[in-house]
């Protein structure tokens, strides 16, 4: 199997395994989903420093890659696109400056959960925050 075929196989496996309902005790599934959501929302929120609150990057319209206008907007991204890109960063077929350092640190399951999480967020176009004039009384001792 070629490398690209292997990635596709992995992507399909990951997406189906996460989206399809898990067979088992309904209560157990519910509890573990809730825990999983808490876990993944914190990890996803950690991406906000570069990609904005819930993937709503400042500027950059609906671009899914970094441009001179801003960083990639992740909110509302296609889950499969996200996963393919992250796997590409991991194995080096997708060029990056910094993302390979993150993609290699995440598990396949985490990448897939992040894909689902970001695909479910509504894209809100964010403008840069307006700065102010520093006031005389501001303390910094």
């Amino acid at each position: 199997m070629k490398k690209s075929q292997a990635i596709w196989f992995l992507v399909i496996l990951l997406i189906t395994s996460s989206v399809l309902p898990v067979i088992g005790n309904a209560d157990e599934v519910f509890v573990s989903d809730a825990q999983q959501n808490n876990h993944i929302r914190t990890l996803a929120a950690s991406c906000a420093a570069c990609h904005g609150t819930m993937g709503n990057a400042v500027g950059n319209g609906n671009n899914r890659s970094n441009t001179d206008e801003g960083n990639a907007a992740l909110a509302g991204i296609d889950a499969a696109d996200f996963t393919i890109k992250m796997l590409g960063f991991r194995e080096g077929s997708q060029k990056s400056t910094v993302m390979h350092h993150h993609a290699k640190g995440l598990s396949l399951d985490e990448i897939n959960q992040l894909a689902v999480h970001f695909s479910q967020q509504k894209r809100i176009i964010m403008a840069p925050l307006k700065p102010q004039t520093l006031k005389a009384e501001h303390g910094s001792l």
Partner: protein
């Protein structure tokens, strides 16, 4: 002199009507569904915790922030004010959007004491009760070894500029006034301190200005550590190649004393006179963390449980940001990560559930080596149940070399973390 006034209190808390004044203390008019969290400090950690507590509790947790300053000034990018490509007014923001968007109550006041038994916070102008308390006070400078620098007057002459604000502006003015051929002396304090790559980035920013405007000048960097402690290979190369003849880096040089009148620093090896002197003092957990006994006598940082950031010493009090003894870089991105794990945990705890047993987060830290070139260090951190702390995962690392592309990403990093923290 601050006079307590009923009207000031009500004004300070806003027209929410949720709080009433009873004597000198706030009392609840209506009990919030899940309880009240008081957050001390409106920096990256405190502001982020306040926002995400409101978001993730769907407004069921009442959040009150107590912050002494009216404005937020970003330490990240403040070295660029020294280099001249930014002004302090590019890095200064208000809190209005954050407060309004998330229904966060806000008091501009200074905390004077914490009574963890009675779960009460005392401020200059009143008291607050809490169910859980978040302490996010940043750093405090330790002047035990450099008492001559403790006063505001001394810092007018020798600024630290390590909390962005007027000292940053002052240091830039001193740099502009320095004659060509002058000597700028700065230091790196003993680790741990706020922003490990920050002093080395500062040296690059100063050098990038001097290289163009005052090429005969020199920067002496006195490092109390045995070597460059962050992005070592990259900074070493930039010092040697880009700023050869400008940056004179000296490891293992602690500042033992300062003569203010002559701007002379004393080290174990020699006395060095400066035209401009910038001393960044050794650091410890913020003042309120010391007052509230969140640190132990022989160690000046706060030990916490990394699943919730609850203090190991005081129950129901969580500590965030630079004050935490995490063994990880004290950075703005780390502070916001800790704040999110903590907010998530508090929402769980207040709902009677256990917090996420295996938090994971990422950190990206950029340094600008000129006005148009930056480089990063990036890592994923994962909770290690055996070691009971956050450990860096496989695959992290630094840039191959500084680049213009990364300067664009670094600028976007700043825009995004500001928007995430303050809106």
């Amino acid at each position: 002199m601050d006079h307590f006034s009923r009207r000031d209190f009500i004004k300070a808390v806003g027209a929410s009507g949720a709080l009433l004044v009873s004597g000198h203390a706030f009392a609840r008019a209506t009990k919030p569904p899940m309880g009240r969290v008081v957050v001390i400090g409106g920096g990256y950690a405190g502001a982020t915790a306040a926002k995400y507590l409101r978001l993730w509790s769907l407004g069921a947790i009442e959040v009150i922030v107590v912050e002494a300053n009216q404005q937020f000034v970003s330490c990240p990018l403040s070295n660029l004010v020294l280099g001249g490509s930014k002004t302090i007014n590019d890095l200064t923001f208000g809190y209005d959007a954050l407060k309004a968007n998330h229904g966060i109550k806000w008091l501009q006041d200074t905390v004077t004491a914490i009574d963890s038994g009675a779960k009460k916070v005392s401020m200059l102008r009143g008291e607050l009760s809490y169910d859980r308390l978040i302490v996010a006070p940043g750093i405090d400078f330790n002047y035990d070894e450099l008492p001559m620098l403790a006063s505001a007057e001394a810092q007018q002459q020798v600024p630290h500029a390590w909390k962005a604000g007027w000292q940053t502006v002052n240091l830039r003015k001193q740099l502009e006034a320095m004659p060509d051929g002058g000597v700028f002396v700065m230091n790196v304090p003993k680790a741990p301190y706020r922003c490990p790559p920050g002093p080395y980035e500062r040296a690059c920013q100063l050098a990038s200005y001097l290289k163009v405007h005052k090429p005969k000048s020199k920067i002496i960097v006195l490092d109390a550590n045995a070597e460059i402690i962050s992005k070592k290979g990259l900074f070493t190369k930039v010092f040697k190649e880009t700023y050869a003849g400008i940056i004179d880096y000296r490891p293992d040089h602690s500042i033992k004393g300062v003569d203010l009148a002559t701007k002379t620093v004393i080290t174990d090896f020699d006395k060095i006179s400066a035209d401009v002197l910038n001393v960044i003092p050794p650091q410890r957990a913020g003042k309120i963390a010391q007052i509230a006994a969140l640190t132990e006598k022989d160690y000046p940082w706060c030990e916490v449980n990394f699943l919730s950031y609850e203090s190991k010493l005081v129950e129901h009090v969580h500590v965030l940001g630079d004050s935490v003894a995490a063994g990880l870089p004290k950075s703005a991105h780390m502070a916001t990560n800790q704040a999110k794990v903590c907010a998530n945990a508090i929402v769980q705890l207040m709902a009677g559930q256990a917090p996420d047993p295996a938090p994971v987060f990422a950190n990206t830290c950029y340094s600008f080596v000129s006005d148009t070139s930056a480089m990063h260090v990036a890592n994923v951190y994962r909770y290690d149940a055996g070691k009971k702390m956050m450990i860096s995962a496989e695959g992290g690392g630094v840039s191959i070399s500084p680049s213009e592309k990364e300067a664009i990403y670094a600028a976007a990093w700043a825009q995004n973390i500001w928007a995430d923290t303050l809106t």
